[in-house]
Subunit: 311 residues, 2 copies
């Protein structure tokens, strides 16, 4: 059975394209790892790569990328708007095909151990792989960033899960963890009042009393003359899109404000959209196995395994 994991490693380099390309090129030698997408941001000085692969190969590919990043990126010389603590800042692992969260947790531990032992980079397991509740939240781990991690790593409770209790001089520390697919969703509001976007962001986000798996901020889109509720949905199964969207609509109505539109950034799992259709159309007992493309994926993945003789 073909199993696939998605990973979205973040590297602290968003200005030198040749560096990012060299890191990505380390995946080329793996025939069961595919780079789906990548982008770099100058202000954030950060790049994000989306890849999928079989558990064994993605593990090796991510190790090689981390090694390459540790050779090419020197955090002592790194400045950028986005908080960061390592050359390879964070490596999330997402189960996407024939794969359970438990297997991703297992793989995150194997990968973390190798990065710690072979590259001498301290590794913190986060999200579903976290060994302490406080470490479930990546922001908590990253607090202090590279510059202050030399002291933080010695504090009680902040020993790394793998590797030395000493920040790597140039590559810093890295977080590795299993999580659900994260959906980046922006809802645009037909108003230029930033206070409304900020109030609505507060209403939906977990940190101020909203949905458990929603992070949100209100921002201005100056060129469009409107404002936006910019969100990360960290678990679309538990805090589904339609519920978040309907709450935003309801809160916006209070101010007499309409929703102008919604944008999806990056990739989105089919099931997240199917759940939306299920809700609005009031589906009874709908099985996603009824979706033609799901059947196709099953056939294709069986064929691939057959032709590789792995079955």
């Amino acid at each position: 059975m073909l199993k696939l994991i998605e990973s979205v490693p973040n590297f602290s380099e968003g200005r030198r394209i040749e560096v990012v390309e060299e890191i990505i090129r380390t995946c080329e030698k793996f025939d069961k790892v595919w780079v789906l997408d990548w982008s770099m941001d100058y202000d954030h000085n950060r790049s994000v790569v989306t890849l999928i692969g079989t558990p064994e190969q993605i593990n090796d590919a991510l190790f090689d990328m981390t090694k390459k990043a540790s050779e090419l990126i020197d955090l002592r010389k790194h400045k950028g708007e986005h908080p960061r603590m390592g050359a390879t800042d964070v490596i999330p692992l997402v189960p996407i095909w024939n794969c359970k969260m438990e297997e991703c947790i297992e793989i995150s531990k194997e990968l973390g151990k190798r990065i710690g032992e072979e590259l001498n980079i301290p590794v913190y397991l986060y999200e579903k792989s976290a060994t302490k509740p406080v470490r479930e939240n990546l922001a908590e781990i990253r607090k202090g960033e590279f510059e202050h991690f030399h002291e933080k790593i010695l504090l009680e409770g902040w020993e790394p899960d793998f590797g030395p209790r000493k920040v790597h001089p140039t590559a810093g520390v890295t977080a590795v963890g299993a999580r659900e697919h994260l959906i980046a969703l922006n809802v645009n509001l037909r108003t230029d009042r930033i206070d409304i976007a900020k109030n609505i962001a507060k209403a939906v986000r977990h940190s101020s009393g909203g949905f458990r798996y929603v992070k949100a901020i209100g921002i201005e889109l100056k060129e469009k003359g409107i404002v936006q509720v910019s969100m990360n949905l960290t678990n679309y199964k538990r805090s589904p899109i339609h519920r978040v969207f309907e709450l935003i609509k309801l809160e916006a109505e209070r101010y007499g404000v309409q929703i102008a539109g919604t944008e999806v950034i990056g990739l989105i799992p089919m099931d997240a959209l199917v759940k939306v259709a299920e809700f609005y159309l009031k589906f009874e007992d709908f099985e996603s196995s009824r979706i033609l493309e799901k059947k196709l994926l099953e056939i294709f993945s069986k064929e691939l395994v057959k032709e590789n003789g792995e079955d």
Copy 2:
């Protein structure tokens, strides 16, 4: 590039399971044809098989199934509630992967020609493959059914597209044509008043003034004590689900009736549900290439071609 076509042939046998199984077994020798689903109905005395395959192989598989059905089914002895005119009554071809409607039309003509010439079964091209406007509608072709086709075939304008101008003594005539994926969708209403379901069916269906690509009837679900608008959406791209659903909801409100739920029968293409999510969430510029499973399908199909050395 891997190309795939879906076909949903209908056979006039819904009682003798061994006959249906023997017809389906003729697909087994094709390594690029997969049977996704099949069902038989006693009252209709009819079976429906869903298969997908590459253009070349599905063409051969459908020919072999039609041949086998002509050997095993004798329409002179066939009775059932569903109208029919042939042992293999109808063969629709649907483009589903890397394939255009034009290619399905081409294939329907090749298949029709072979059935006509090699099996001596008159073939009518229907829907997108139709050679005359009246033949776009399968119901128009089937009118008179097997019993009256001996006279109909001699009428002006009813010469078959392929094969002899003489009904096959036991296998009748067959319709072959390319079309969009058909979605069978039932909307249940919280009332036992059949007149309401019938009125709403009239409001949405093409034949009485509704949407161009919607067929609908009102029926009673006696055991549940409710009624249903039972529909076929013959082109979900042009008459999308959400528009049909919202109209049903609106019309039902007139009678103070609520929608109890919606059922999907058979397979549904992912895009049909994505369009629903796009509408309700007001997506701006959403590309379905953003869907993770779409990326997976692309990767898988490229890999399959690579391993078959067809690229």
